[in-house]
Amino acid sequence: MSVHPGQARSVQGRIERPRWTSAGGGGVPSVGRVLTYAVLIGLSIVVLAPVVWAVLSSFKTQTELAQRPPAPLPSSLSPANYTEALSSFDFGLYLQNSVIVTVGATLLTVVVNTMCAYGLAKYNFRGRDVLFLIVLGTIMIPLQLIFIPVYQMAAQLGLVNSLWGLIIPPAATPTGVFLLRQYMLGIPDDLIEAARIDGAGEFRIFARIVVPLCGAALAVVTIFSVMWRWNDFLWPLIISQDQAKYTLPVALAQFNSQLSVPFNYILAMSVVSMLPVVVIFLILQRHIVRGIANTGFK
């Protein structure tokens, strides 16, 4: 059973029938509340400590990083790693490329994924199941495995060495389609039927009724897309061949040599590249937390 339309009502029906004898009335006992905080705080420390340590370590020099056992704190909060890494190349240009690619690819991803998910979730048409299985099947193909054939395709289409090559090929993320499709299954068909009776066109129904109901899922797909495209490494590395087309992760990785890796720069740049994603997350997470009250189901 699921939130499938039509069954929604039967869920309600089933709930109404048995008379539960609890006297609680849904209030949360305070022991539970204390336990909740204890668990959350405990886990937060486990989760947060290594992240904080990574941030602190990004201020360490190569020599400090080599120290055994490693010291928890850097000897000073000198920004040398940051300034040296950033000044060793054209940071502004790479930042600009990264922003263009991330914004462009995310917009494209959200639009095409949502449309595709809607088609798969709310229409009954020939080939639907096959298409959906193809979507499912391809989530599991890591780029690592089909690297060369994909590159050949991009090369034939003239997408090499252009930012379009970074925006278009990764846009049709199967994960996004899958996630949105599952979410849309929960939207009652009656809503769509009612709109049709009112004379609304198919695209209008999609844009005006369905999309506004998918706020939470759209927020998640947006966060994921920003995260993936911002941190994308393998694909830009092969598509961006001129240094003028490098994105930040590619530019940063060029320090990695055969015999030594400058971990001090890598740590610092990893912190820098974390920031935008965290900011986007903070902005968008309100849509996911907005709460049960106003999702629009009525």
Partner: protein
């Protein structure tokens, strides 16, 4: 199969609309994922020492693969890893998302904390946890040593290193799945809870009779995505253990990567291994999907 119950033919725009909705996504998809994947299957029938010159060998790659001890060792490790990863991810993400969906103080803070490791680069993840789990000089063993608890060889002992790799995988990815479940929770019609509360259902009953059943499409997303992630795990493991000690944490994608891009290059073998991986995961996903749909139909 599910959406519409009508018998009479639909108007042309309703028949055409789904194809138009899925078209843009499927076009990009076909070009950059499906076609290269087919190409990859094709390559698995050839022998290639460089990914460019091919000799047809039929099933010889598969034969060599199934006779290779390293392949089976990687396959076993992958199954163990993926199984633990899926079960633990699903259970933990569900539990944490439910906790984080409650009206508690600092909810936004906790959500952000759990999301932070998701945006950290895999190289840094491997580096930081390497400092923590190192046997002689690691932070963890320094603490354990002071407490008189000995110095376990976290990354030296085969069993322990697999446990460490699973733990770090959970640490790194759990925020991603929590987010998906949180989004799913926002899609549940609040009137169900109101009705249940009026009937005097306890919060445990609400969880079992409303939340979990209605969350099934989302849970399926988590199971399938974590299954796929489990079978694809590679990058942070590579920096953390390098697949060691003695191959204990060498998973399938690393095996494929080493065959495809490290001397001696066996591109056809790598392609064959990725076809095997693909077929396995696809079969599992299909089972999951069909099971989910049977549930939907009841």
């Amino acid at each position: 199969m599910s959406s519409s119950h009508r018998r009479q033919p639909k108007p042309w725009n309703q028949r055409l609309a789904p194809y138009l909705f899925v078209l843009p996504n499927m076009l990009i998809f076909g070009l950059f994922v499906v076609y290269p994947a087919i190409n990859n299957f094709n390559i698995s029938l050839y022998d290639s020492r460089n990914g460019r010159d091919f000799t047809y060998v039929g099933g010889a790659n598969y034969q060599e693969l199934f006779g290779s001890e390293e392949f089976w060792s990687a396959a076993r490790a992958t199954v163990v890893f993926a199984l633990c990863f899926v079960v633990l991810t699903t259970v933990l993400a569900l539990a944490l998302a439910l906790l984080l969906n409650r009206r508690i103080k600092g909810r936004a803070f906790f959500r952000t904390v759990f999301f932070l490791p998701v945006v950290l680069s895999p190289v840094v993840v491997g580096l930081i946890w390497g400092w923590i789990f190192d046997r002689g000089n690691g932070l963890l063993n320094t603490v354990l040593g002071r407490l008189g608890l000995g110095q376990p060889g976290w990354l030296v002992d085969s069993g322990l290193s697999m446990a460490v790799v699973i733990f770090v995988g959970l640490w790194m990815h759990i925020g991603f799945y929590i987010l998906i479940i949180l989004a799913g929770l926002q899609g549940i019609d609040p009137t169900f809870y109101e009705a249940a509360r009026m009937d005097g259902a306890t919060s445990w009953q609400q969880l079992r009779k409303i939340t979990l059943p209605l969350l099934r499409p989302t849970t399926m997303v988590v199971v399938i995505l974590s299954l796929i992630a489990g079978f694809q795990a590679f990058d942070y493991i590579w920096t953390l253990t390098g697949g060691g000690p003695i191959g204990a944490t060498t998973l399938m994608v690393q095996y494929i990567y080493e065959n495809a891009f490290q001397s001696p290059i066996r591109y056809g073998m790598a392609a064959a291994a990725s076809v095997v991986l693909f077929v396995t995961v696809f079969a599992l996903t299909l089972l999951n999907f069909l099971y989910g749909r049977r549930k939907e139909a009841t």
